[in-house]
């Protein structure tokens, strides 16, 4: 296994008081998540705003210290390593961020932005550095002659290519893509998705691909994990998850995903969920989805379902069987 994430928990304390800080609660952003990634594989991580998917990505990349649990990379425990020791692993684990505007320093030239990781890790310098950077630019579809331009002179899609080139510079083994195409127009989005696929084939990259758009995730992923309120509720092969979703939340999410095909849209029976996602400060007891779940029973309010082992993992007491109708909305004591 290239990456093992074992019961990772990330709680952010909520404090009050100006001089003497007092912790009054925790935002339970990630609450016990486990998964594994094999070399060359793409794992898609989907979920809605606030489900903890980006926090999880940052924990894996070592950008957030984690509260408990273990992260292993290539067999080595890299959980909360001190900075100098983490540095060695940063070469292997790179991140592509969502916002192609916010993640590039506007006052630096593109060439030096892409060169940064090579300089920091003493990989290359002088004329060789420039050559490497220009090769990278060419590989991701940028004109190498634009080496001396500023980020503002590039469009959103080209900026995302700069982000990809920077992530690729150290020939990492794992790239964490945090919503890499969400800010882009569809015609550009497809260019970046194809680029990521080509690079994966060429360099044998492993991706942890985070997005809220299920169609994008399905397109690029081998396996998909669905998150809800800090937990993985279902994890299965990409096609299997789409064909036989077992968790009621996955069913709802799939039925709600807009599809650019009118006949398919007409065939769809939308499961309209009641209410909103509860606060991760004080998640519901038992199964976290039970207040909104069309199938919830008494057991769901008290006992937390665990992921079953196997290829198709689902954390639900009453998983959905094929052909079951969940479209009648129903609420169990949901209060806004």
């Amino acid at each position: 296994m290239l990456l093992e994430v074992d019961h990772v928990v990330k709680h952010f304390p909520i404090t009050t008081g100006m001089l003497v800080k007092q912790t009054v609660g925790h935002v339970r952003a990630v609450d016990g998540v486990s998964f594994e990634l094999s070399p060359g594989e793409t794992l898609g991580l989907v979920g809605e705003t606030g489900c903890g998917k980006s926090t999880l990505a940052r924990c894996v990349a070592g950008l957030h210290p984690i509260t408990s649990g273990k992260v292993r990379f290539d067999g080595d425990d890299i959980t909360n390593l001190p900075r100098p020791r983490m540095r060695a692993y940063r070469r292997d684990i790179q991140v592509i961020f969502q916002d192609p505007y916010g993640s590039l320093n506007p006052r630096r030239r593109v060439g030096s932005i892409i060169a940064d990781p090579l300089v920091v890790h003493h990989v290359s310098s002088g004329p060789a550095l420039r050559r490497t950077v220009q090769e990278l630019m060419e590989r991701v579809g940028l004109n190498p002659e634009h080496y001396n331009r500023f980020p503002a002179e590039f469009s959103g899609g080209q900026r995302q290519r700069i982000g990809v080139a920077r992530a690729l510079a150290l020939r990492p083994r794992l790239i964490i893509c945090d919503e890499p195409v969400s800010a882009l127009d569809v015609s550009i989005q497809a260019q970046i998705l194809n680029l990521l696929k080509d690079l994966q084939d060429e360099f044998g990259l492993t991706y942890l691909f985070i997005a809220h758009d299920l169609s994008v995730v399905r397109h690029i992923s081998d396996r998909i994990a669905v998150m809800y309120l800090g937990k993985i509720v279902e994890l299965a092969g990409a096609d299997e998850l789409h064909r036989h979703p077992r968790h009621p939340y996955t069913n709802a999410l799939l039925s709600a995903t807009a599809v650019a095909d009118p006949d398919e849209a007409a065939r769809r029976r939308r499961i309209i969920l009641v209410g909103d996602v509860p606060s991760p400060i004080d998640p519901p007891p038992g199964c976290r989805f039970h207040p909104r779940c069309p199938k919830a029973g008494d057991r769901c309010t008290v006992e937390e379902p665990l992921l079953n082992p196997g290829d198709h993992q689902v954390a639900c007491h009453f998983p959905v069987s094929a052909g079951e109708d969940l479209t009648a909305p129903r609420s169990r004591g949901w209060t806004p």
Binding site: E48, I188, V216, A258, P262
Partner: protein, 363 residues
């Protein structure tokens, strides 16, 4: 562009369209040059129908409706926009204000910036009612606000009416915006990316709500979006915009299954899981959209078009009717027009159409 009547007989011929925009041009003078945001847009909206305007960033989809509603200060606007026979572009500020909000209401993308953060949600709805109908009493306006919030699915509306916007979730804020847009029984709602800021499950709730209130109150809807997935579920007719112009206009099914314009086709082939990208690799459109200060001559799409011919760079193709030989379209699915020099029969995503396009390009 011809005026299209709703299919179904009775209304044909005599009744004017609810909104009829003709040759709308919107330009913004800037220090860098003249930004040509909209370059001659014509469309009609019929009572109770849904028109979707689709396009990417900078295609002019938002600017065009904002210009019609007098919401784009500093713009240089020409053309006509007849709303029940009255030209909105000729009205003064005060006359337009009386129509806007009352007969035409707008739902914006971001409900947090369109609701005032320091006033209670209910108060903002009451104020809207009382500004347009000064003889309404406070108590009556409040009763109406509670009723509207209940109608759009806000639980316990009698209590939530006294909440501030920050106490609402994103989906609930958008519901409140919809409640507000319905307050004065409008004939037309302009929804500008109403679900773009929302999660998928919330988006589904809001789209269902918009569809329901539209049918219940017989309101016409202009839906502006970049998301062809949203359109597939609700539009009657779709306009695809590129660089300030309509490049294709068709009924919903025709657009998705029998597109003519290479840009529409390119969009469909770029979206994972769409009618155009059924299996395997995505086929993105190369390059990026043009700057609106320096729009390419002829067809604005020609530098990115895989089928570009010499005529494309020289002359702008008119929006004209296309009729696929093997198409037949779908009966009652509206007429189908495209602004492209390719043969009119080259519609669809199949190999026959592809062969026609390639032959035209070679010739």
């Amino acid at each position: 562009m011809t005026v299209r009547r709703p299919s179904g007989g009775a209304a044909r011929g005599t009744i004017m369209s609810l909104l009829e925009v003709t040759d709308l041009q919107v330009r913004f003078p800037t220090s860098d040059g003249l930004v040509q945001a909209v370059r001659g847009l014509s469309f009609t909206v019929e009572r109770g129908r849904t028109l979707a305007i689709v396009g990417e960033s900078g295609s002019g989809k938002t600017v065009s409706t904002q210009a019609v509603l007098g919401l784009s200060p500093g713009a240089d606007i020409s053309g006509t926009a007849l709303f029940e026979g009255v030209d909105l572009l000729k009205l003064d500020h005060e006359q337009l204000r009386r129509i806007r909000g009352a007969q035409i209401s707008v739902i914006f993308q971001d409900p947090l910036t369109s609701l005032h953060p320091l006033y209670k949600v209910g108060w903002q709805i009451e104020e809207l009612i009382r500004v347009h109908r000064p003889d309404t009493s406070r108590a009556e306006a409040r009763r109406r606000a509670v009723e509207l919030l209940g109608l759009v699915g806000i639980p316990r509306p009698d209590r939530r009416v006294d909440d501030y916007p920050h106490q609402f979730s994103g989906g609930m804020r958008q519901r409140a915006m919809i409640a507000m847009s319905l307050a004065l029984n409008p004939k037309l709602i302009v929804a500008d990316e109403p679900t773009t800021a929302l999660d998928a499950t919330v988006q589904a709730q809001i789209l269902e709500l918009i569809g329901r209130v539209q049918a219940e109150f017989d309101i016409a809807l202009i839906l502006i979006t970049h998301d062809l997935g949203v359109v597939a579920g609700i539009a009657d007719e779709v306009l695809v915009m590129y660089a300030g112009l309509v490049v294709e206009r068709a009924g919903r099914r025709t657009l998705y299954y029998r597109p003519h314009h290479p840009y529409t086709k390119g969009l469909l082939e770029s979206i994972p899981g769409s009618s155009g990208a059924r299996n395997g690799r995505l086929r993105p459109i190369s390059g990026s959209p043009p700057s609106l200060i320096a729009i390419p001559p002829g067809c604005a799409f020609h530098p990115r078009c895989p089928y570009a011919m010499p005529v494309c760079a020289a002359e702008r193709p008119p929006l004209s009717r296309v009729t696929g030989t093997a198409s037949g379209g779908t009966a009652g699915d509206g007429d189908h027009a495209s602004a492209c020099w390719l043969p009119h029969e080259a519609v669809g995503l199949g190999p026959d159409a592809e062969a026609l396009r390639l032959r035209a390009k070679e010739a």
